[in-house]
Symmetry: C2
Subunit: 507 residues, 2 copies
C-alpha cells in the first residue's frame, strides 16, 4: 500500500503540471493578449516537458513494476487495479517520446494556435502553412516512434510500409482500440445508409430556417445557453463559460471544468448548440468520481466516448421536438426575434439538412461527411501523399465531391478548425465514433429508465444525467470505451442504431 | 560563456514555472469558479515547490560558483554581472527554505485567498483567523530561517532576541537594504511633518466631493480608466484588465503584464484611481529590457521602487490639477453624472483629506497612517506580542488613535487587504517608502525634462514615460533600489521632498 501511495503522489505531481498547462492554454484561447504568445509557448513547453520527465522518471517505472499484478484479484474497474493498468499503458507510450519532442511539440502548437487565429481572420492559408507543416512533421515523428508498440499490442506486426501505420499509431492515443481499418469500415457502412437518406431529404422542400438568422443580442444568447446548461446539470460552482475563437471544454480538476463558446449576433445556432455541446463534455468531466482526481484516471475513457456525451446532449436532447416544446417560451422571452416561431417550426429549423461549409454548424447527417473529409486529408498528410501546400485544393475538391459545394475562402474551408493548430492529428474520426455511441447510449438509457421521455419533455434532465453518471461518467478511465459501452448497452460499437435514429427522424 | 548559457537555461525553466504559477493565481483572483480552490492549491504548491527545487538544485549552485567574479570588470549594471549577483542573492535565501515549507506556504496561501474573500464578504474574521494564524506561523518559520543570513550580510550580528529580527528578515525580501529601524525612522520624520499638516487642513472647510458618489455606469468607468491607462502608455497588446475583489497587477512575461480593478457603480474613485495605480505597476514591468525576460532580473528592483511607479502615476499625475484640466471634458462625456463639475472642483474633490476606513481609497496624507498601523500590527504578530485572535481589537484601537475613527465592521477594518491572505507580511512599509521615492523621481524627471509640465498638461505622457523607462524600468533588477534612486535623482531615500510636495499641495 505504501508503494501505491508513492505512485499516487508522483502521479498527482504530474497531474498538477498537466492541469497547470491546461490553465495556460485556456487563458491563451480566452484572455491572453496577443503579445503574450511567445512567452506562453516557452511556459507551456517547460510545463509539458517537466510533466513528461516526471511521468517517465525511473521511480514511476519501478513502482509500476512492483505493483504489476498486485490487484489482479480485484474487478477490472477497481480504481487501484485500473490505475496501475492505465498508467502502464500511458507510460509505455510516453517513454517512447523524448523530452525534446515534448517541448518542441508544446512550443510549436502554442505558436500555431496564434498563427491559426490570425490566418483564419485574414483568410491567409500561406501564413498558417509553415506551422501546419511543423505539426505534421512532429506528428509523423511521434507516429513513427509509437507505431511498433501499437502494432505489437495488436498483434498486427510491425509493418513500416503499411500506409496507415502512422494513422493507427496516432488514432490509438485518442481512441484506444480503434484503427484506420475499423474507422473506414464504420464510414463505409454510414455512407451506404446516409447517401440515400440525404437524397430523400433533399428531394423534399426544405423547412424554413430563416428566423435563425435574425438579430439576437449576444448577452441574451449567452444567458439562454447557460440557463439550459444549468438545467442539464452543469455545476457552475465548478465551472464557467468564456468566449473563444473556437468553442472547447477543458478540465483543471473535477472541481473546475470550463467551457467556451462563440457568439454570432445574427445567427442563433453557433452559441446555443455550441454551449449545449461543450456542456455535454463538461458534464462528463464533472461526473468523474472525486477519488480519481489527480490521477491518470480522471479523464474521459476516450475522445469518442467524450464526444458521445457532447453529441448526446447537443443533438439527441437539444435537437429533439420535446426539448423545443419545453424551451420555446423561454427562448422567445430571452430572444424576442423568435416570437411567432412555434416549437415545431423551431425543431424543423434546427434540423434542416443542407450541405454547408462549417463542420460544427453542420446538420446531423452531413456532419459525418465533414469528418470523413478530414480523416482522408490527414491520412494523406501522414503517409506523405499530400503536401501541406496542397491542403486547400484537396479540401475544396473533397467538399465539392462529398457536399457539392466549394468554400469561398480558406477561412470557411481548411482553416475553420482549431484542431490542427493544437497539434491534434488522428482525432477527427472520434467525432463520428462518438456520434454512433451517443445513440447506443441514449437507447440504453431509455430502456433502463421507463419515465425518461416524460422527464425530458418536462425539462427534467436529472434522470438522464444520473444514468450517464452511473454508467459512464464516474468511471473516468477505469474502464475502456469498449468495456463501458458493452456494460452500459450490451452492445459493441455499431453504426446501426444511429442509422435507425437518423432514418426515424429524417426519412 | 557556455556556463553562462547553461545558467540562463536553468533559470528560464524556473522563471517559466513561476510565471505559470502567477497565471494560476491571476485566474484564481479573476475567473476561477469557487469550487476549483482546493485543486488550485495543490497545483500552486506543486509549481512553487518545483520552481524552488530547480532553483536550489546543485547545478545552479555549481554554475554560480564557477561564474562568481567572472564579470567583475564590467559595470555594475551589466546584465551578466547583475544576473550572477542577483541569482546568488536569491539563491542564498532560497536554499534556507526547505521544499516542504515552499509547498506548505503555497497551499496555505491558496486556501487563505478563498477564505479571505468569503470572510470579507461575510464580515467574519473568525472564519479567516485560522488561515491568518497559519500564515503568521509560516512567516515566523521563514523569518527564523533567514534572519541569520540577513544579520550576517548587514554585519548586525545574529541577535535572536532582538525584537525586530524577524521583521527585518521578511522586509529584506521585499525591500533589500531596508530595515525595521530605517522604516521606523522614516515614519517618525513623516509623522512629525504630517500631524501639523493634517491639523491645518482639517481646520479649513472640506471641499465638496459628494459628486464622486453619484451613479456611474460600470462600463463607462471601465472604458474611461483604460483610456487613461492607454494614454499613459500601457500597451494593451501586451496587457489586459480584469475585475477582482482587490486590484493588483501581475506579470507573466515582459510581453504579458496584466492589471485588475474593482468597480463601484456609486463611487468614482476606486476603479479610476485603482486602474491608474495598477497601470503604474504595469508600465514598470512592460518597460523592462526584453533581453532580461526569463531571468531573475525581469522584475522590479524592489516593492518600494514598484510602488514609486504606481503612486507616481496615480497621485503625482492623476491627482494633479493639470491632469483634470485635460481630462475633465472626456470624463464628463463618459460619465454624464459629472456634468457641471469643473476641473478645479474635481481636483479638490479627489484630494480631499479626511480620515477614512479603506487604505487604498485614502488621501495622500492619511495614507501613511494606514500603512503605519499595519506595520505595527505585523511587528507584534511576528514577535509574538499580539495573537491573531486579537487583531481586530488592535486594528480598531489603532484606527481610533491614528485616524479618530473606528471601522463599523472587520470587512472595512482588518479584513480589507488581500495581502495577508497572499502570505505577505513585512510588505506594507514598502508602500510608504515607494511614495517617498515617487516624489524624488518626479522632481528629477522635471529637472531633467524642462518641457515636462507642458507635456503633461497637454495629456502627453510620453516624455515622462521615456524618462522612467531610461532611468528605472529598463534596468529591472540589474541595479538595486538605492543605486537606481541615487543615479536617477542624485539623492538617497529622503522623506523631505515628499513632505515639501505635500505642504505645497495641501498647506
Amino acid at each position: 500500500m505504501e508503494q501505491l501511495q508513492n505512485l499516487k503522489t508522483l502521479l498527482a505531481e504530474t497531474a498538477d503540471l498537466s492541469h497547470a498547462a491546461a490553465v495556460l492554454e485556456w487563458d491563451q484561447e480566452t484572455h491572453m493578449p496577443a503579445g503574450g504568445a511567445g512567452a506562453r509557448g516557452h511556459q507551456l513547453a517547460t510545463l509539458r516537458r517537466l510533466a513528461h520527465e516526471r511521468f517517465t522518471a525511473p521511480e514511476v517505472g519501478d513502482l509500476l513494476d512492483r505493483l504489476a499484478g498486485a490487484f489482479d484479484d480485484r474487478p477490472e474497474e477497481d480504481p487501484d487495479r485500473a490505475l496501475v493498468r492505465v498508467t502502464q499503458r500511458d507510460r509505455a507510450r510516453a517513454t517512447l517520446l523524448p523530452s525534446e519532442w515534448v517541448s518542441a511539440f508544446a512550443e510549436a502548437t502554442s505558436a500555431a494556435r496564434e498563427a491559426w487565429k490570425a490566418a483564419r481572420a485574414a483568410d491567409d492559408f500561406a501564413a498558417f502553412a509553415p506551422h501546419l507543416r511543423r505539426i505534421v512533421e512532429l506528428n509523423i515523428e511521434k507516429a513513427d516512434r509509437l507505431r511498433p508498440l501499437v502494432a505489437e499490442e495488436r498483434g498486427t506486426g510491425y509493418a513500416p510500409a503499411k500506409a496507415d501505420a502512422r494513422y493507427d499509431a496516432l488514432l490509438d492515443e485518442f481512441e484506444p482500440g480503434a484503427s484506420t481499418a475499423s474507422v473506414t469500415a464504420a464510414f463505409d457502412e454510414l455512407r451506404a445508409g446516409l447517401v440515400p437518406l440525404v437524397e430523400e431529404v433533399a428531394a423534399r422542400p426544405a423547412p424554413d430556417d430563416s428566423f435563425l438568422h435574425r438579430d439576437f443580442p449576444e448577452d441574451a444568447q449567452w444567458t439562454l445557453g447557460l440557463e439550459v446548461a444549468r438545467a442539464f446539470g452543469y455545476d457552475m460552482n465548478r465551472g464557467r463559460q468564456d468566449r473563444s475563437a473556437h468553442p472547447f471544454s477543458t478540465s483543471f480538476a473535477i472541481s473546475d471544468v470550463r467551457i467556451t463558446t462563440r457568439l454570432d449576433p445574427h445567427f442563433f445556432s453557433p452559441a446555443f448548440f455550441g454551449t449545449l455541446h461543450e456542456t455535454g463534455h463538461a458534464l462528463y468531466e464533472q461526473g468523474i468520481a472525486e477519488s480519481l482526481d489527480r490521477t491518470p484516471l480522471a479523464d474521459g475513457a476516450s475522445l469518442g466516448m467524450h464526444e458521445s456525451q457532447s453529441r448526446l446532449w447537443e443533438n439527441l436532447v437539444g435537437r429533439s421536438l420535446s426539448f423545443w416544446e419545453h424551451w420555446m417560451p423561454r427562448a422567445q422571452e430571452a430572444l424576442p426575434a423568435l416570437s411567432g416561431v412555434d416549437a415545431g417550426a423551431m425543431y424543423r429549423a434546427v434540423n434542416v439538412v443542407r450541405p454547408s461549409l462549417i463542420r460544427v454548424e453542420a446538420d446531423e447527417l452531413t456532419y459525418h461527411l465533414h469528418v470523413l473529409l478530414r480523416f482522408e486529408i490527414e491520412r494523406r498528410l501522414l503517409s506523405g501523399a499530400l503536401d501541406v501546400a496542397d491542403v486547400p485544393d484537396a479540401w475544396n475538391e473533397s467538399m465539392r465531391s462529398y457536399l457539392g459545394i466549394v468554400p469561398p475562402s480558406n477561412a470557411d474551408g481548411c482553416l475553420q478548425d482549431i484542431h490542427w493548430s493544437l497539434g491534434a492529428i488522428g482525432y477527427f474520426p472520434t467525432y463520428t465514433l462518438g456520434t454512433l455511441m451517443s445513440v447506443q447510449l441514449f437507447d440504453a438509457a431509455r430502456r433502463d429508465t421507463p419515465a425518461l421521455d416524460d422527464a425530458l419533455a418536462a425539462g427534467d434532465y436529472a434522470p438522464l444525467l444520473a444514468w450517464l453518471r452511473e454508467r459512464i461518467h464516474r468511471h473516468g478511465r477505469s474502464l475502456t470505451t469498449p468495456d463501458l459501452l458493452r456494460r452500459a448497452t450490451g452492445q459493441d460499437l455499431d453504426a446501426g442504431p444511429w442509422l435507425e435514429y437518423a432514418r426515424g427522424k429524417y426519412a
